[in-house]
């Protein structure tokens, strides 16, 4: 009763709510070039060019990009490296062997004659990832990263790539295929899978204001222990790059404008100017901030032992169809169950039949593939 009263009172006290708001979205967007990517010293640089799309446009449409462009990385001596177009709007420049002691800028020229460039910038040295570790509590696997910076960079962005191996719940004996069934002999084709994912939102950090240029045990990711990513083997590769203060502020501003919470004290969103200018028309606004930096990365593997908490998946409950009057099983009904797969039991001619939804016996249904990374450390297939 006490809690009930408290809930009621709290409901009054905190009845602030957030509702979907379906305002009419703009059908026209200002034509504005977007330049995404950094000049990465010591590895290949990837620059994406695109245009802002209307908010109401179909999300599935291809990104609108300049049909042709010259994308070049220049140093302070006027030397340059040409970019190679790998697909519409994407250019790759080989900066693997560029000196980290030079200054660089990005130069772009579109086929309509407009030219853009960034100011010459020194290379933000890569910080050192001193620790990449994890802890486990009752609910979560928490990942931590410790960074020690170099004197030249006090701002960092952290991104990561995840890979994991998992398996289906059951190994089937029979497959129901095209209205019939067949004995399944290649269960490995559906049992072990590998998934991967890259971080969407970078994690920005700064050591400005600290007595030391280091980040200590920053908890950048937490994964529920029942998550299937932890079922067999999990791996994460963390990449950290150094940024200037202006770059960090700009990128945080972009992020906050897209994932804002809208609470009472959230700053009013606005557009911020990056470091790309149109040299042929200084009034033109361009979206993007191109930094010059080196990156550092570190990878760890996490076994499921003492980490993964298996839970009962409702889909794994076995189903035993009732036989008809003749003692036959009405297999057609199984079509109602997302392409059922037989396992562990007899079909006609067998004494017992057990079956499960496909998602319980086919790991691919969960989004994984059979594409095992070359560097994956175990022998599963």
């Amino acid at each position: 009763m006490k809690k009930t009263i408290c809930y009621i009172l709290l409901a009054f006290a905190t009845c602030a709510c957030i509702y979907p708001y379906d305002a009419e979205m703009a059908k026209e967007a200002p034509e504005r070039l977007v330049v995404s990517g950094d000049i990465l010293i010591g590895e290949e640089t990837q620059i994406d060019l695109s245009y802002v799309m209307p908010l109401s446009s179909d999300i599935t449409l291809e990104r609108k990009a300049p049909p042709e462009a010259v994308v070049v990385v220049k140093n302070e001596k006027g030397q340059f490296l040409y970019g190679k177009k790998v697909k519409q709007g994407r250019y790759v420049i080989d900066t693997r062997y560029a000196s980290e002691n030079s200054k660089y800028r990005l130069y772009i020229k579109l086929d309509d004659g407009r030219e853009y460039q960034t100011p010459l910038e020194e290379v933000n040295g890569a910080p050192r990832i001193t620790d990449l570790s994890y802890s486990v509590d009752n609910t979560y696997l928490r990942l931590y990263c410790s960074i020690t910076g170099r004197s030249s960079a006090w701002n960092y962005s952290l991104e990561y790539d995840e890979d994991w191996e998992y398996h289906a719940y059951f190994i089937p004996d029979l497959l129901f295929v095209n209205g019939g069934y067949e004995v399944h002999k290649r269960f490995k084709d559906f049992y072990n899978c590998w998934g991967s994912r890259s971080s969407v939102e970078p994690c920005f950090m700064t050591t400005e204001g600290l007595s030391e240029n280091r980040i200590e045990r920053n908890n950048f990711l937490s994964i529920p222990r029942a998550d299937y990513r932890l079922m067999d083997l999990y791996s994460i590769n963390v990449t950290v790059r150094g940024l200037s203060t202006d770059a960090r502020v700009y990128l945080e501003h972009l992020r906050d404008g897209s994932v804002g919470t809208g609470d009472l004290f959230t700053p009013t969103p606005s557009e911020m100017r990056g470091n790309i200018t149109c040299t042929t028309n200084p009034e033109e606004q361009v979206v993007g901030y191109v930094s010059v930096c080196k990156r550092a990365s570190k990878r760890i593997f996490i076994s499921s032992t003492n980490v993964y908490q298996s839970i009962v998946d409702p889909g794994s409950l076995l189903f035993f169809p009732e036989p008809d009057e003749d003692g036959n099983y009405n297999l057609e009904n199984l079509f109602l169950w997302d392409s059922p797969v037989f396992f562990d039991g007899p079909a006609p001619g067998y004494d017992n039949v057990q079956w499960a939804p496909k998602r319980c016996v086919d790991c691919r249904v969960w989004g994984g593939t059979k594409n095992k990374p070359d560097w994956w450390p175990n022998d599963d297939e």
Binding site: L10, C15, Y250, S258, F265, E284
Partner: protein, 1006 residues
């Protein structure tokens, strides 16, 4: 016919003549108080008894005792008026077998005057006295609104507040001592014989009704002189009023003529002064309009309740008007300079709601424009989200006053930003006027006397902000007795106590408020998502007033508040206000005064950011502003001129940022340079009212200056304050005004609402003062016998150097803050139409405002200029605004209040495009404030239950049951768009009170 009358009189006289010796005397006035109590000792019924009077004993006389005046009454014949017997001639009487003695005549000199029942417990004699004292005047309802005719609530309106005192005494060791027998003891007492010492020797015994007639009674052929003597105030009410104000002449009857002064030395106008008090509490009443019959000679009572008028000799009518009090008209014959003290009583026939009063006729007398006055009755009856009277929410019901959204701190007046309002509490500056991020205002209505909002014509003594002045004053403590109030709400409780410290010299008022939201959050389970949250606030007010003498008084006030909240475990906000002030008031007379004051204000906020996961980066971030101030203002009246002059100075010390590491953190301690500055000002103004003419002028100039003590940058500028009024008719006025203002302190914010972490910034070499002017005109018309006010005001404002922020600005711990800010110029204009009804069962007002508030960057920064250098909507620009506030009273005790609010949605910046940046979908935003959130609409209802008339009760409880946002409309506070880390752009709307919010509020007065 004449013969019949004479015959009846002779017959009446014949019947009564035997008693003339006894019945000669004053005639007791009779009122029908049967529903509220009565004067009499036990019952209004007269009882036949025995009385010893003037040396004779009379038996079988219909007797009663007036327990208020402690006088014995006789009534004979039964239909006749009761006659008062002279107490000095009456040693004892006996009714219902009980003796009543006049102990003063019996030689018990230290006994209170009056009569005492003689009782005994078998061991000793007890003397019991019953007293009934008025705390309130019964008033006069025989005038315009006759009892039972035009006033359907007359029975409730005739309110006599009796304080019943039952006291027991004994004579012990020759001394008369008060004792306190228990209830059972009291009930066990029986009637005792007449004490020997009280048995005054009588000449003879006389039987009047049916008994033997004494031989020495004179038989008079006609009624004695004075039998039907005209009832006069002095006889009927002097005692009543003496209970309220013993030593002063109190005029409280409207149908009596008072003579003021003796023969004047000159034939010109003479000065009439006095004090207006509340009849129930004895508290002085400020803000009462006092005028003559022509309403051309008038003044307002000061906070000490005093008034001062120059009246012509001869007959006149003095009018006293205050919205919550009953109108008082007093006929006077002015023979010379003199005083007339007046009591007014609370209006019970009109509605207690609504209640934001800019008194109707006051608009026609005041030269200035845009002054609104709010009293506590107003605040407590306007429905609010959690039922607690709220200063800021009440102010928001006025035309021209807006906010960016519900539960937001601050308010916007006529297109000004929130930091352009000077909020004064007892003269101290309040920098954050809210609790719980804007859900409650920071002021406890229990201790507030009155709130004045100047939104157009700002008096010369105010400065430092360019938009408005909200002047909040704490009341003085009750001079008569200890009083208090206790309020219980859903989220908060408040308590106030007031009373005298030294009788007639020193009073105090102490108030406090707190919330239990913190406790509630702690009770919640972890699964609720709020278990780690904290939200609490509290505030304390103290005021002490000391009257040195009739001309000098000192007032010491203090205010402290604190807030703290955290809904995430790693971040906690705290902020605190502290104000201390002392004021000396010297009054040569009502019109010539001097106020000198000084004080200290402090506002600080702190952000604690740290958690176990990020212990090395944990820190606290604080800002603080402190100011010491002093001001002196003199007001002098000379002929048609009322001159105000004086000066003030504010010394600022502002810490824009202090960052310190928390335990285990490697954050480097850092402190931005403290800003110090001095803001001295001098001012002078004159209100010129030439005779009784229709014109009046209020003109003044204030020279404000500002000197930074860090880099010695100096700014200074004169500020003009001009207002003119033309009143061709007493109920019709036209006004115009022009003001210029300067402001030397800025609030730096990039949020729509005042945030706890917003920082203040003093002007320096890079940041210039805000400057602004306002030109306004108005039309005021009072119609239907002062029942309806119609006003139309228009204004045009400009301001310069209002700070907006660059995109991506870093406003916290920024050594070069000016680089992230841009000065803007603003313009605002609009018209406000208002209809206000102040009388009748239904009271309230409806107002419609059309206005615009626009900003434009003052510098050209090329493509980075906000909106390309064009005018853009200010965040608080809401063109259409409709407000309806009212109250309907069913009976004296029950009324409903309602509040309707509609406005255009405020401007926001929304996305107009999207693009991929890295792996994430990003949004491209429109020009600043180019779109609007949905329009705002809200209806609130409340049922008010006033305390009953159980006037003997120690406590009085009132209750309000209400519902905020009755329609449950999901009003948008803001909208935002997010990609949720995926490929979908979804818009969301934040609604602060997205549903009906019912509430119950209980208030206990004692």
């Amino acid at each position: 016919m004449r013969r019949l009358v004479i015959t009846l009189l002779v017959l009446y006289g014949t019947v009564c003549s035997a008693q003339t010796t006894l019945f000669r005397g004053r005639v007791m006035p009779e009122y029908d108080f049967s529903f509220n109590g009565h004067y009499y000792w036990y019952s209004p019924d007269f009882t036949y008894g025995t009385v010893c009077y003037d040396g004779a004993v009379y038996e079988d006389v219909p007797l009663n005792i007036n327990a208020h005046t402690q006088e014995v009454l006789v009534r004979e014949p039964p239909v006749g008026p009761p006659v008062v017997l002279e107490r000095s001639l009456l040693p004892w009487l006996r009714m219902r077998g009980v003796y009543y003695v006049n102990l003063n005549l019996a030689g018990v000199g230290d006994a209170p005057k009056g009569y005492f029942e003689v009782l005994t417990d078998g061991k000793q004699i007890y003397y019991f006295q019953r007293q009934k004292l008025f705390a309130r005047d019964p008033g006069n309802h025989n005038g315009f609104r006759g009892i039972g005719y035009e006033d359907p609530n007359y029975r409730e309106d005739i309110i006599a507040f009796f304080h019943l005192k039952n006291r027991f005494y004994v004579i012990r060791n020759g001394k008369f001592k008060r004792v306190f027998p228990g209830r059972s003891k009291q009930l066990s007492l029986l009637a005792a014989d007449l004490p020997a010492f009280a048995n005054v020797k009588t000449d003879d015994a006389r039987t009047l009704a049916g008994g033997e007639r004494p031989a020495n009674i004179n038989m008079l052929p006609e009624l004695p002189a004075g039998w039907f003597a005209e009832q006069t105030e002095s006889s009927a009410h002097a005692a009543i009023l003496a209970a309220i104000e013993q030593d002063k002449l109190i005029a409280n009857y409207r149908n009596k003529t008072y003579e003021i002064g003796t023969v004047a030395a000159s034939s010109g106008p003479v000065r009439v002064r006095g004090t207006v008090r509340d009849v129930a509490t004895g508290e002085v009443l400020g803000g009462v309009l006092v005028s003559d019959s022509s309403e051309r000679i008038y003044c307002y009572t000061g906070k000490d309740g005093s008034y001062d008028l120059n009246l012509p000799l001869g007959d006149n009518m003095l009018k006293f008007r205050e919205y919550t009090k009953e109108d008082m008209d007093i006929r006077v014959i002015v023979k010379g300079a003199g005083t007339l003290d007046v009591v007014m009583r609370e209006k019970v026939t009109a509605l207690k709601s609504a209640y934001i009063t800019a008194n109707s006729m006051a608009d026609h007398r005041r030269t200035g424009m845009g002054l609104e006055t709010i009293n506590t009755a107003t605040m407590t009856h306007i429905p609010t989200a959690f039922g607690e009277g709220d200063v800021i929410k009440s102010v928001l019901t006025l035309p021209g006053v807006k906010s960016v959204g519900e539960a937001s701190s601050g308010f916007n007046v006529r297109g000004g930003s929130a930091d352009q309002n000077l909020i004064l509490f007892n003269g101290g500056t309040i920098y954050n006027p809210s609790h719980l991020f804007g859900v409650f205002s920071a002021f406890n209505t229990d201790v507030i006397d009155e709130v004045e909002l100047y939104k157009s014509s700002i008096p010369v003594e105010f400065g430092g902000r360019i938009s408005s002045v909200l002047d909040i004053g704490a009341k003085d403590g009750n001079p008569e007795r200890i009083k208090g109030s206790l309020g219980l709400g859903i989220l908060t409780s408040h308590l106030a106590i007031e009373g005298p410290i030294i009788k007639d010299k020193t009073t105090f008022v102490l108030g406090g408020r707190t919330t239990y939201s913190d406790w509630m959050l702690k009770q919640l389970p972890a699964s609720s998502g709020y278990a780690g949250g904290k939200a609490s606030f509290s505030d304390v007010n103290l005021g002490v007033t000391h009257h040195l003498d009739d001309q000098n008084s000192l007032k010491l006030t203090g205010y402290w508040s604190r807030d703290g909240f955290s809904f995430r475990g790693d971040t906690t906000f705290r902020y605190s206000n502290l104000d201390v002030a002392i004021k000396w008031k010297h009054k040569w007379d009502k019109a010539n005064t001097l106020d000198v004051g000084a004080g200290y204000d402090s506002y600080s906020n702190t952000l604690e950011n740290g958690s176990e996961a990020n212990a090395v980066g944990a820190y606290t971030l604080s800002t603080r502003i402190q100011q010491g101030f002093t001001r002196a203002t003199a007001k002098v009246k000379a002929g048609d001129h009322t001159i105000t002059f004086g000066g003030d100075a504010v010394l600022y010390a502002l810490d824009p940022g202090i960052m310190n590491p928390m335990e285990g953190s490697i954050v480097v301690p850092r402190r931005l340079n403290r800003e110090t500055a001095l803001e001295p000002s001098v001012y002078a103004g004159d209100v010129w009212q030439p005779g009784d003419g229709p014109f009046s002028v209020d003109a003044g100039v204030r020279y404000s200056s500002f000197l930074t003590l860090t880099d010695f940058k100096y700014y200074g500028a004169p500020e003009l304050r001009v207002g003119v009024k033309y009143s061709p008719l007493p109920n019709l006025s036209l006004k115009a005004g022009f003001n210029t203002m300067n402001q030397y302190i800025h609030l730096v914010s990039n949020t729509s609402s005042i945030s706890p972490m917003d920082t203040w910034k003093l002007c320096d070499a890079d940041i210039k003062p805000q400057q602004g002017y306002q030109a306004a005109g108005g039309f005021y018309w009072t119609v239907f016998g002062n029942a309806l006010d119609i006003s139309l005001e228009g204004y045009y404002k400009r301001n310069y150097n209002y700070l907006d922020y660059k995109s991506g600005a870093v406003l916290s711990m920024n050594d070069h803050l000016a680089d992230d800010l841009v000065p803007t110029t603003g313009r605002a204009y609009g018209v406000e139409l208002m209809f206000r009804k102040l009388t009748g069962r239904l009271t309230g007002w409806v107002s419609y405002t059309w206005s615009r508030a626009l900003l434009k960057e003052m510098e050209d920064r090329g493509p980075d200029t906000i909106n390309g250098g064009a005018w853009y909507n200010a965040p608080f620009d809401k063109p259409h605004d409709l407000k309806l506030v009212g109250n309907y009273k069913f009976t004296h005790r029950y009324s409903i209040s309602f509040n309707l609010d509609y406005s255009t949605g405020r401007p926001v910046t929304v996305p107009v495009g999207r693009y991929y940046y890295g792996n994430a979908l990003r949004l491209l935003y429109s020009e600043r404030n180019a779109h609007r959130i949905p329009d705002y609409f809200r209806l609130d209802l409340a049922l008010n239950i006033e305390p009953g008339h159980y006037l003997k009760a120690f406590t009085h409880m009132s209750a309000t049951i209400g519902c905020y946002n009755v329609t449950g409309r999901k009003n948008a506070y803001s909208v935002f768009y997010t990609t949720d880390g995926g490929n979908i752009v979804q818009g969301y709307m934040v609604s602060v009170f997205a549903t009906q919010v019912p509430y119950v509020s209980l208030n206990l007065k004692f």
